[in-house]
């Protein structure tokens, strides 16, 4: 029995229904273990002589560490080793360094200061968990409490305390230029001037803990051939392995990681904190070491979905058409970057929601505060702003006296429409979703809305890209000098000619040429954007957009490697454009593969498993 109703009547001619898997019921490969209770958790793996590791954590939101006194803890029964920040070979990392995005900003164990409550400063490895807990309680840390900031907008005040020394302006640096991610499409100033009414709203979402059944943890043990095995709760096995290799400055070929399929993750097990800790413990003691968060730790230091705050301003005609939409978004990424910088790219790519609006602008800030670092959680980057957009659509519907479903159908994007990131919409289905949902709920909509289709009335004028107004506000560090508005400027200083289409930006190049996929040898279409590759025929020809002339200025392109290039601007009145800084490059390239063959400096004489 299934409760799913397949509406194959919709878009029937776009689908070939002879697939073997999609649309067919299938048995999950791990379901037998789950329903019989046999799927192993990482903690089900037993080791002789297992040691237990626990962290000393900050009781303060923000404090400098004057000194740490572990002498009493060292003398306590069962204590095998105190792990200090200096024991971490490469004690600085950022998760996305594995794809060269962002700068290293987070230590595994903090040595100079802590920036959120619960940040670890050292760890104890003991024979039992109870002994480890007792030893933790005996560690004395001399804290110098610093002023802290917990609100995203307060963190952007000129005199706000510096949360993260790597990003002293309390914002992630986007494209080496701005303290926020910009999106500019058309002219919102003209849009608002043209609109019959302007409707504003403020929306906020609190952090959400993923609350997995199994708390984050890992067991690492020395293995044969100078390797270490690590059983972990991770949901990103190779991410965890790469992060461990970097933090421990150890060849990834010496790490043997084993994951699992139970315990729940929902995004909260990507951050790869427990695996380096457990592996470091095994390296330092030569014994199997378990590092496992208890429930209070999972709640306090386990990275949640970050809090978000959105301001939306719509210019609306009396008939319900939205002609301009401006977003100001704040992601509370906590004390360290983790994945929030990337969530903002996702959010910006999603704007202005599934609607065709000719003038759109957004400024989205990745803000550092003295709160628990935020990370991934189901649809992160999208969920919060979608909540804001759809709440605001209801508000607009009420303001103009329209049915909320009809307002959505009226403004919905259709096949062939131009989206704010300068790509044509295809396979759109919002109208059909609204129609089916209204029908199922017994919600009456007008006949012209019930007859609307994503397949018709799109394109044409709706595929045009208007002249886009740009500005240079919010350069990195500017907000430390003076207050400047957070919202996108409605009177820009630059112009990008109408019809300027976007340009695909390819992600990081493969490391070796022979890793480049050959389009003719794989079964699906690949992007035509790669300059090394013979151009593919462009997908659907743009009905009205002329071919791109100056292939640059879509400012909301997904960036990993993004070479900033000044758009063709008339002389800006205020200041000459500053010299472009070199894009960030790591000082030494991240090492993969065998680095130091031969014996490990860590392995002791203990019996290996």
């Amino acid at each position: 029995m299934t409760t799913i109703e397949f509406r194959k009547d919709l878009f029937a001619d776009e689908r070939v229904d002879d697939l073997k898997q999609i649309g067919k019921p299938t048995v999950r490969q791990d379901i037998l273990g789950h329903v019989t209770g046999r799927s192993p958790y990482y903690d089900d793996h037993l080791f002789d002589g297992l040691l237990h590791m626990r962290c000393v954590r900050s009781p303060h939101h923000h404090a400098r560490i004057r000194s740490i006194d572990t002498s009493a803890a060292e003398r306590m029964p069962g204590v095998r080793r105190i792990v200090m920040p200096s024991d971490v070979p490469h004690n600085i990392n950022t998760l996305l360094s594995l794809i060269n995005f962002g700068r290293d900003d987070e230590p595994l164990l903090s040595h100079t200061k802590v920036s959120y409550r619960g940040e670890p400063v050292c760890a104890v490895i003991a024979d039992t968990e109870r002994q480890a807990r007792a030893a933790i309680a005996a560690v004395r840390v001399d804290w110098e409490v610093l002023p802290h900031v917990l609100d995203v907008e307060e963190a952007l005040e000129p005199d706000a305390p510096v949360v993260n020394e790597e990003y002293p302006n309390n914002t992630f640096d986007y494209h080496e230029r701005y303290d926020h991610q910009k999106l500019r499409f058309g002219d919102i100033g003209a849009g608002f001037a043209q609109a019959d009414r302007v409707i504003e709203g403020r929306y906020q979402m609190s952090p959400i803990e993923q609350a997995p059944l199994e708390t984050c943890g890992a067991i690492a043990a020395p293995e044969t051939n100078d390797r270490f095995v690590c059983y972990t709760s991770t949901q990103a096995l190779f991410f965890s392995l790469g992060t461990t290799a970097k933090l421990l400055d150890i060849a990834s070929s010496r790490l043997h990681f084993v994951g699992g399929t139970v315990g729940g993750g929902f995004g909260g097990k990507v951050d790869s904190i427990v695996e380096p800790m457990a592996t470091l413990g095994a390296v330092l003691t030569g014994r199997p070491v378990k590092f496992m968060w208890d429930r209070p730790e999972e709640m306090q230091v386990g990275a949640p979905r970050g809090g978000e705050r959105w301001y939306i301003k719509d210019g609306v005609m009396n008939d319900g058409r939205i002609v301009a939409r401006s977003f100001t978004g704040f992601f509370d990424c906590g004390a360290y970057t983790r994945l929030s910088s990337y969530a903002i790219i996702k959010a910006t790519g999603h704007l202005p929601g599934p609607y065709t609006i000719p003038n759109v602008a957004s400024n989205v800030y990745c803000v550092y505060t003295n709160r628990t670092p935020a990370t991934a959680m189901r649809g992160f980057g999208i969920t919060g702003v979608d909540f804001a957009i759809e709440s605001h659509m209801d508000k607009v519907a009420e303001a103009v006296g329209m049915d909320p479903v009809e307002l959505r159908i009226l403004n919905a994007y259709r096949d062939g429409d131009m989206k704010a990131h300068r790509r044509l919409a295809k396979n759109t289905a919002l109208i059909e979703c609204c129609q089916v949902a209204a029908d199922k709920a017994g919600w009456r909509i007008g006949p012209q809305f019930a007859a609307a289709s994503s397949l018709s009335d799109g394109g044409g004028d709706r595929a045009l890209i208007g002249e886009t107004v740009t500005d240079q506000e919010g350069r990195i560090g500017e907000r430390r000098q003076r207050r400047i508005p957070f919202a996108p400027s409605e009177r820009g200083t630059g112009r990008i000619a109408a019809g300027t289409a976007g340009e695909a930006v390819s992600a990081a190049r493969p490391q070796r040429d022979d890793m480049q996929p050959e389009p003719e040898r794989i079964g699906h279409k690949v992007s035509a954007a790669d300059p090394e590759r013979p151009a593919q025929p462009a997908a659907p020809p743009a009905p009205a957009a002329p071919p791109p002339q100056a292939p640059q200025p879509a400012q909301a392109t997904p960036p990993p490697v993004y070479e900033p290039q000044a758009p063709a601007e008339p002389p800006a009145p205020q200041s000459p454009p500053p010299a472009q800084p070199e894009p960030y490059r790591p000082s030494e390239p991240f090492q993969r593969g065998v680095k130091r063959p031969g014996a490990s400096r860590f392995i002791s004489g203990t019996r290996r498993r």
């Binding site: 109870r130 309680a137 208890d294 429930r295 209070p296």
Partner: protein
């Protein structure tokens, strides 16, 4: 190190309980503390005394050993009036371990069964032979050390005793509040009423103003109105993850009304 000591009799176990030790009855709360590394105790004291698990009739009262589990209460014919309260505690696995004695000392928001015992004016029998009304036991909880061996409760007439638990997650959620009422009647009017609230303060507590307002009245909408006004007098409900103190105070009269005059749900 954590040690576990098991004694033959309740009296011996009572003598062994002291500083940095805990008595283990069902272990539903104590084992959580052990698993979460609570450093507040080093010794766990238990007893294998069978008297702890007995239910017996003594005149017009029922004597319940402190080690009787919620599952056993729910299954007992003599304690049918307490079965709804016993069934409201946890899920089947918890009820199979959780004991009457442990519930007397369960911290907020737990202690639903103790709320029912408080409304029934139960007597606590300590291992050293003392007897004490449950009300003062709850009031002085945490200030003295002793081992409860049993409780005894009077047997109410049919329909005189009512219990209601308000939880957000059904059927196993912890209490937003628990309500228990003993409503004896004399010549058709209420007399010697006892109303107790659980999860509306640190421990279960009676609301004497509410009881006084009910005495001498009929159980009808007009009659209970003054009692509803006084429903939370003297209570100081706390904020927690389940509900704010303000919310608890606001909704308490509504739940009390549902307890006193059961609505006919269509």
């Amino acid at each position: 190190m954590l040690s576990v000591e098991t004694f033959e009799t309740i009296e011996e176990a009572a003598g062994a309980v002291g500083e940095r030790s805990r008595f283990m009855a069902g272990g539903t709360l104590l084992m959580v503390a052990v698993n979460y590394g609570n450093q507040g105790f080093d010794r766990i004291v238990r007893t294998s005394d069978r008297r702890l698990g007995e239910i017996s009739n003594a005149g017009d009262r029922v004597h319940i050993g402190a080690g009787v589990t919620m599952a056993k209460v729910a299954a007992s014919r003599d304690l049918a009036f307490l079965a709804p309260a016993a069934r409201s505690v946890g899920g089947p696995a918890i009820r199979n371990r959780a004991t009457v004695g442990g519930n007397l000392f369960a911290p907020h928001p737990y202690g639903d069964f103790a709320t029912a015992l408080l409304a029934l004016d139960a007597t606590v029998h300590w291992a050293d032979g003392r007897e004490e009304p449950i009300e003062t036991v709850l009031q002085n909880r945490g200030q003295s050390i002793g081992l409860a061996a049993a409780v005894s409760v009077p047997r109410p007439q049919a329909d005189e005793f009512r219990f209601l638990k308000v939880a957000r997650v059904k059927p196993k959620g912890a209490s937003v509040m628990a309500l228990a009422a003993w409503l004896p009647k004399s010549a058709g009017r209420l007399e010697n009423t006892r109303i107790a609230f659980g999860a509306m303060g640190a421990t279960a507590a009676r609301v004497k103003a509410c009881e006084a307002a009910l005495n001498g009245t009929n159980l009808d909408e007009r009659g209970i109105e003054p009692a509803l006004q006084a429903a939370t007098e003297g209570l100081s409900p706390q904020d927690d993850a389940l509900a704010s103190g303000w919310y608890r105070r606001e909704v308490a009269p509504i739940h009390l009304k549902r307890l006193l005059i059961p609505e006919r749900r269509l």
